[in-house]
Subunit: 114 residues, 2 copies
C-alpha cells in the first residue's frame, strides 16, 4: 500500500456517514450488508448512501457482490490491516517503543523512558 492509496483510504473514512457505514460493515463480518439496509440503518437517503459506498469501494475499503436484487457490501479486512501497518511502520525507529505505541512489543526494555 503506497502513500496515495493510504491517503485515499483515510479520506474515504474521514466522513461521518462513511465511517459509520464502515464500522457497521466491520461489525457485520464476512456476511456484509445490503446497500438498502445500510441506508436504512443510518437514516441516509439511498442516493447519498450509494455515493458514499462508491467512495469506500474506490478507496478499496469495501467490496461488493450481487445477491439477486440486492448488492451486498463487505469490509475489506486486508485493506484495513494494510492501512494500520502503513501508519505504524517502523514505529519508534523499531526499537524501545513508547509505552503506548501501536507497536508495543519493544516497550519491554524497561526504564528506556522516564
Amino acid at each position: 500500500m503506497n502513500a496515495m492509496e493510504v491517503v485515499r483510504a483515510l479520506g474515504a473514512l474521514a466522513q461521518e456517514h462513511r465511517l459509520a457505514v464502515y464500522r457497521l460493515l466491520v461489525q457485520a463480518g464476512p456476511d456484509g450488508m445490503a446497500a438498502g439496509a445500510l441506508a436504512d440503518a443510518l437514516g441516509v437517503p439511498a442516493s447519498s448512501m450509494s455515493f458514499h459506498l462508491a467512495q469506500l469501494a474506490y478507496a478499496g475499503l469495501v467490496s461488493q457482490r450481487r445477491q439477486s436484487r440486492s448488492i451486498i457490501y463487505t469490509a475489506d479486512y486486508q485493506a484495513m490491516n494494510a492501512l494500520m501497518a502503513y501508519m505504524t511502520e517502523n514505529c519508534c525507529g523499531g526499537v524501545a517503543c513508547a509505552p503506548d505505541a501501536p507497536c508495543n512489543p519493544a516497550a519491554a526494555e524497561e526504564g528506556a523512558l522516564p
Copy 2:
C-alpha cells in the same frame, strides 16, 4: 474517542503532507522532531508545515513542547491506538473473525469460513 474525534483525526491524516509528517513522527518516537526539521525533511514551506502541524495537533494526533527556539512535535500514540480501536471495535460481531480481520484472535474457529 467518539465519532466526531475519529473523523477529525482521519481527516487530519488524509493528506499527503500530514500523513508523511505523522509517519516521520511515529518513526522518530518519543524524542519527536522540530517543526523546522519536518519542513526541511519534506521540502514543504515552513508556513505550510505550521498549518499542517496545527491540524494534526487540533486532531489530537500530535503534541508539542517548546525547546528553546524550536517547537518539538511528537506523535500521540494513545490517540493512534484509540483510532485503531474505534475502527475495529466489535469486529465481525465479536466472534469467528474473517481470516484477515484486524481482530484476528477468533480466526481460530477453523473452517468457519470457506
